[in-house]
Every structure is written in C-alpha cells, then in structure tokens.
C-alpha cells in the first residue's frame, strides 16, 4: 500500500478474483473451509453416538467378557478392550451421551445465568451494574477448576452436579460478553426510538436489546461447549463426576491410567477423542463469530 490514507480500505487492496462457481450445494460445500466441514462432521458423529449408541456399538459397554482383557486394537475390537474385557469402542460410544449432555447442561446453565446477569448489569447500570460486575470479577478471580470443585463439593458428586458446577464456572465470561453487547445495543437509535414511542423498560429490553445482543453470545456458547467437555472430563478423571462403571470419557482416561504401560489405547483413544471434540467446537465457534461479524 503506497498511501496511508487508505487505512479503511486496506483490506480491499488484497485483490483476489475467485474463479466463477456454480451456485449449487456442492459448490457451497467446496467454498466452506475444509476444517469447518471436518469439525461439523466430528460433532455430528459424536452427537449421533450420544443419541442412538445402539446403532453404532452392539457390545455391552458395562459387562466385561472373560479372557478378552487388554486386547490391543484389531478388527474385532477396533479400539481394543480394557482390563475387565469390555470393548473400548462400545464404552466410548456409550459414554458420548454423558460428556455431551453434561456439556450441554453446563452451557445452558452458564448461558442463562450469565445472560441474566449481563442483561441486568448492562441495562440498569449504576450501582446494580457495579454490584453484579464486581461479583463477576470475583468469580473470574478464582480458577475455574477450583470453583467447579468447590461447587461440586457443596452439591455432591454426580454427572448433573458436575455439569452444573462447570456451568457456574463459565457464568462470568457469559455475563461479561452479554453486558458489553447490551451496553452497545442500548445506545442504538432503534432502542431510543422504542422508548420514544412510549415503550416500557422491560418490554423494550425483551423486544430489542436482548435479541440484538445475543449474536456473539452464540459463538461463545459453542466455545464453552468445547471447554465444558474438557472440564467435565477433568472432573470425571478426578473422580468427582459419574461413578464407575459409567463409561464417561474422563473416567475412561482415569481408569486407563492404571494400564499406561500395557494398554496405551485405554488412555489414548478417549484422550484423542476429547481433544478432537474440543477443537471441533472451537472451530465451529470461530465460524459463528465470523458470521456475526460479517453481518455488521
């Protein structure tokens, strides 16, 4: 760029004329980044495992088969078997529902509570804003895992409680994002116009401020979904989540730890799976935020 004044048009200078393409579904798929297609595929498969595990894995995930302990991956057991002779593939497939539903509950808890706090803080302002946001600051100051552990110790162990604990730990990030969006949208002309035509505070908040604040929150929700799976697995690994013999992924890794030298697949397979799902969720979240930015 030879001229500094084209600051606002700098992006336009990198010209690239894409080849003309047909507006078909296949062409649209080709235009979609490969990594995004892969991410959707991973999440799709795992979601299908969670919904109908029986279609994917016939073996019993809980009952072991005698003399089939610690078999390395082969054609019969593609992920191998564990120390009790249970098929690891079946355990992973049947475990998906625990990790996914846990993550889902966690995101819903974080989203609802965080949005509520952020909305109130941003819309009312003043001392309410100060009070709520300082509370959020306190939440952020405590490490998320420590916070989750404290909550789970109050609530008691279990899949749902672990999910709630993880969700509460993510309230702060949701609240902050929603508040900043609400503060921005509240100053918009159309909100002023809504008040100007006699709108009352809560209806205007519900009709205009909330819907227009939520676009970027969807991106964060997808991101939190990934990290919730990681956190729930962490809690499971530490023994605060679902009790054995539930094939929850974190628990699978914890159990496999005992066989690290003899059965590498017991830790590697669920570990890689967790990583894949988290990365995929992150990739989808990036796509969401790109879309919402493109709209503006």
């Amino acid at each position: 760029m030879s001229t500094p004044f084209i600051y606002s048009q700098a992006a336009a200078s990198s010209q690239a004329h894409g080849a003309p393409f047909l507006p078909t579904a296949w062409a649209r798929l080709q235009r979609t980044p490969f990594t995004l297609v892969l991410a959707v595929l991973v999440i799709g498969i795992v979601a299908a495992w969670a919904l109908v595990p029986g279609w994917f894995a016939g073996q019993n995930p809980v009952q072991g088969v005698a003399r089939q302990q610690l078999l390395a991956p082969d054609a019969a057991h593609i992920f191998g078997t564990d120390g009790l002779g249970r098929d690891l593939y079946a355990r992973v497939v049947h475990g998906a529902v625990h990790s996914l539903s846990g993550a889902f509950v966690a995101v819903v808890v974080g989203l609802v509570m965080g949005t509520l706090i952020g909305l109130l803080a941003g819309a009312i302002g003043g001392w309410v804003d100060d009070l709520l946001m300082r509370f959020v600051d306190v939440l952020l100051a405590v490490p998320a895992l420590l916070l989750s552990l404290s909550i789970i110790i109050i609530l008691g162990f279990g899949t749902v409680n672990a999910a709630i604990a993880v969700g509460v730990a993510s309230v702060a990030s949701f609240a902050r994002l929603v508040r900043s969006e609400v503060v921005r949208v509240r100053r918009a002309d159309y909100v002023e116009a809504a008040f100007g035509s006699g709108g009352r505070f809560w209806p205007v908040l519900w009709r205009h401020v909330l819907p227009n604040s939520l676009t970027s929150v969807i991106g964060l929700a997808a991101l939190q979904f990934g990290s919730a799976i990681l956190s729930i697995s962490t809690l499971g690994f530490l023994g605060y989540g679902a009790p054995p013999p539930t094939p929850e992924w974190g628990l699978l890794i914890a159990e496999g730890r005992n066989y690290l030298s003899t059965g590498w697949w017991l830790t590697t397979v669920p570990g890689v799976l967790v990583v894949l799902v988290v990365l995929s969720a992150n990739r989808i979240s990036v796509a969401f935020s790109n879309v919402s930015r493109g709209q503006e």
Binding site: M1, S2, T3, P4, F5, I6, Y7, S8, Q9, A12, S13, S14, Q15, A16, H17, G18, P20, F21, L22, P23, A27, A188, D189, Y190, E192, A193, A194, F195, G196, S197, G198, G199, R200, P203, R207, H208, P211, N212
Partner: protein, 562 residues
Amino acid sequence: MSILSLVKPTVLELENLHIAYTDHGHEQPVVHGVSLTVAAGEVVALVGESGSGKTTTAQAVIGLLADNGRLTQGTIRLNGEDITGWSQKQLDGIRGRVVSLIPQDPTSSLNPVQTVGRQIAEILKIHRHVARGDVADRVVELLARVGLSQPALRATQYPHELSGGMKQRVLIAIAIALQPALIIADEPTSALDVTVQRRILDLIDELRREFGTAVLMVTHDLGVAADRADRLVVLQGGRIQEQGRTAAVLADPQSRYTRRLLADAPSLALKNFRPAPAADLPADDAIVVTDLVHEFALSGRRDSFRAVDGISFRVRRGSTHAIVGESGSGKTTTVRDVVGFQKPTSGRISIDGVDVAGLRGEPLRQFRRKVQLVHQNPFTSLDPRQTVFRIIEEPLLNFEPVKAEERTRRVNEILQHVGLPASVLQRRARALSGGQRQRVAIARALILRPQVLVLDEAVSALDVTVQAQILALLETLQKTLGLTYLFISHDLSVVRQIADTVSVLQGGRQVDSGRVEDVFLRPGSDYTRELIAAIPGQANHDDELELFPETAASYRLLHATA
C-alpha cells in the same frame, strides 16, 4: 484562462468501462460502458445518486475495487499509459505519485494510533520523494500549505485531537504530497459542515490552480458540482446520462434524469420561500421554548460545559420551525430536551401547554404520544431483526390495548400515507433502500397520531431525489394531518424550502430567529450571513451562459482571447 488551455494534455481517459460485482456466484454488472476524460487542470464532477456507480468508477481508476469487483471490459489510460489490468504492485508505484485519493470520511481514513505527521511522512518515504533528513520539514510545509494553523504542532498530534475539517485537510496534504497529476476526490466534503465544506472546496480549487492538477470529483451534491466543476458527468444506474460543460448542462439539461436531479436539488431549486401559512390555521402555539439552558458536567472537573445557552422560540400549530446550526451548535441537545429524552438545566419547554421538563415516569410516557422523533439515520433507527410490520406496529402495543385486526388496519393505513407498498411489511429493514427506511421511520412516528413531529436531520442521509420525495411527503402529511414540525438541519437550502420560521444556533446561542424569509434576506448576524453564503450552487455561470449554445471550442477560444 490562457491560450494554453486549448492544448491541455488529457490526464485520465476512461473508455467503455464495464465493472461487475460478484454476489453469491452471480455476476452483477454495475457500470455499463462509461467513457470520460479529464484534462490537466480541469475539474470533472461525477454526479449521481447512491447506486449510480460513481464511486465504483472512481475506485476502479485507482485500483481499489472491493474484492468481489472486477473490470470486465474497457480501458483506463493515465497520462496516455494503459493501466487496465495492472497488478496491485504495479499500481502501488503510481498511487500517490501520479494519482491520489481524497476519501469521503476523514474520521475513518486516518490511522488512529499514528500522529498525522507520521502518516504524511509515510508517503514521502515510500516514494523516496525527498531526502530522509528533509521529510519532517516537508511534512510541516505541507500542513501549512493546506491551511492548518501551527503546522509543527499539528504534525505531532493524533487524528482524534483534530476536528473533521482539520482531518480532511490532513488527507488533502497526503493527497498532494507528491503533486500527482490526478486527484480523485470521493465526496470530499459530505461529512463536513457547510462552512467547513466551502473552505475545503476552496482549498482544493486553489491547489488545482497552483499545481495544474486534474480533479475527478465524485459527488451526489449537484450544488457542489455546479460551483466547482468545469464539466459534469451525470451517471444513473451505471450509465452516463449526460456529460458536458457545467454551464451548458445546468442551463439546458438534455436527459430527463438530469432535469429531475436539478429540480430535486434544494440548493439549485428556485429560490422561493414557503408561502405564508393559511389564515385558517389555529393561532395558538404548539411548542413554546423559553430560555432553555443545558449544561453537561465535565468528567473529573468541577465546572460544566454549556451546550445550550438561553434559547427561546415558539412554533405555531400546523407550521414548521427549523433549527439550523453546524455540529456542536447545540441543536441536537435542544431536540433531546424537547422530546423529553433528557432534562434541561433550566428554562421552560411547553408542548400543548404541558411542561416537558417536569414530566417523569408514567406521565412522560403518556406525553410521548404527542411528540415523536424521527432520527437522522434510517440505517440505525430501525431494529435489524424486526419486520417492517412489527416496527410500525410496536408503538400501538405500548398504550391501551388495540385489537390485532385494528392494529393491522392502522399499519396499512399509515403505510399508504407514507407511500409504501404493502409488500414491504414482511421484509426486514436491511432489504429496503434509505428512502424507504426513512418512510418506515416516519410511519412508526405517525401511527400514534402525534401532534408534533421532531425531525432530527431526517433527510441529511438521503440522496437529493429521495430527499425531495421525503420533503414532499412531509408537506402533504402536514396538510392532511395538521402536524407541527420541528425540523433540525444543517442544510440552509432545505430549510428555505420547508420551514416557516427558523432559529440559527451557534455555539449554543441563538444568533438569529424569525420568519425564514426575513432571516434569509436580512440576516441579523455575521454567522447567518456566512452560512447563507456557504450554500453551494451559487456560483455565477451567467457569463458562460451567454455563450451557450455555441460549441465548446469556440467557447474556449473566446475565453482564451478575452
């Protein structure tokens, strides 16, 4: 003009230019065969509405089309050299040196984290125009040349420390730094106040005369084009409707489109004032503002800033009162006090006998049925997530319940009033044009059947033709519904057309007020005189007109020998 003007070399030559944008796989042609030339020292104005392809054409010249834009046909010759299809790298060599750009919006065109001095120095360094040691001196020299006071200080300041007009001067300094043969000015003054606009245009004119630079000016404002350009090129829908010498086009427009543009431009319209209101108007005042003062507390300081300082005016029911002033004059603060969005520090605002400043809570909400505000920018005043129907219907939901069929009936009724087809009801605001959006905003304001409509620069963001339509709509609505308007504007030519009475504000004070005719013909202050003089479209083409309709050559010859 000297005899030399006959042999001025052509700087820019566009021949049969076709440009298309690719949108979702479809190639949408937007410029269809534009041909024009710009000679050295000449100002050619590219005039048209938004969407006419004028900016696209100008961007193509400097190689700055958006990513999905493509030159499909035609040639661009700069100083005789064919630059069509040059790569960005090749173009980098000529941008700034041979052709440069003065962008539209000075606020977003400077890098906010660099001093303006560094930004000017950058172009000198890139093209190795002056020795490294002399760059700083040259920067100061350039800043002085574009008329900035204390140029050495300005060079060390950041963009946010300068006003809009000063930033535009900095951008002009960058544009002229290497004395290019051609300057493309893309709506260079649209974002500026009228008096600033005039000074900036004077500056461009002066520099052009001094360096003999050719100027391609892109503008939607026919008044500006009429004042400043030697030749006009009128574009519509990507096609040239007409081109010719400014005086000739203005005196005898050949195309119907040009005639409409000329008729719609408020600054060029017949300088008639609005006829005095009919005698049968009720004689009472709908709005009475007395000694309005509004102070803003300055953060971290004890004293405060007085944005509005003792303003008083009365508006008769069914008439239009205009508040005129430049940015910072306090007109927006006044309006927000009048509609009850904020409380004045002191003074009285009475609308229909109700004291607005005393209203709070529910009474204030009920008061809003009487007074409605139409915002300046129809692109931000409509909720992007709602359909037009929901937007217009919403005010009805705020007061006593109205049955669903009744609401639908009233929405349809008001839609007819503002001249929109029923088919827009299910669309969202982003699918509408600026003019349509402003009609939706007016419909939303009118559905509560208010008595006073406050229009905050309600036509400033619109094209002249659309502006003329909205102004005509406002006239009709006022007659049929007996509305009282408070019309805020920086554009005196619009005010002349629509208002009965006017207040001129400067720095929060009212420097002039009264009937529009009196204020225009006998301005009471220097500031008002300056504002009136700054209305574009007043340049005198009479001497050229006498020559019309002789051919351009003999015209030039006559001038050359004179």
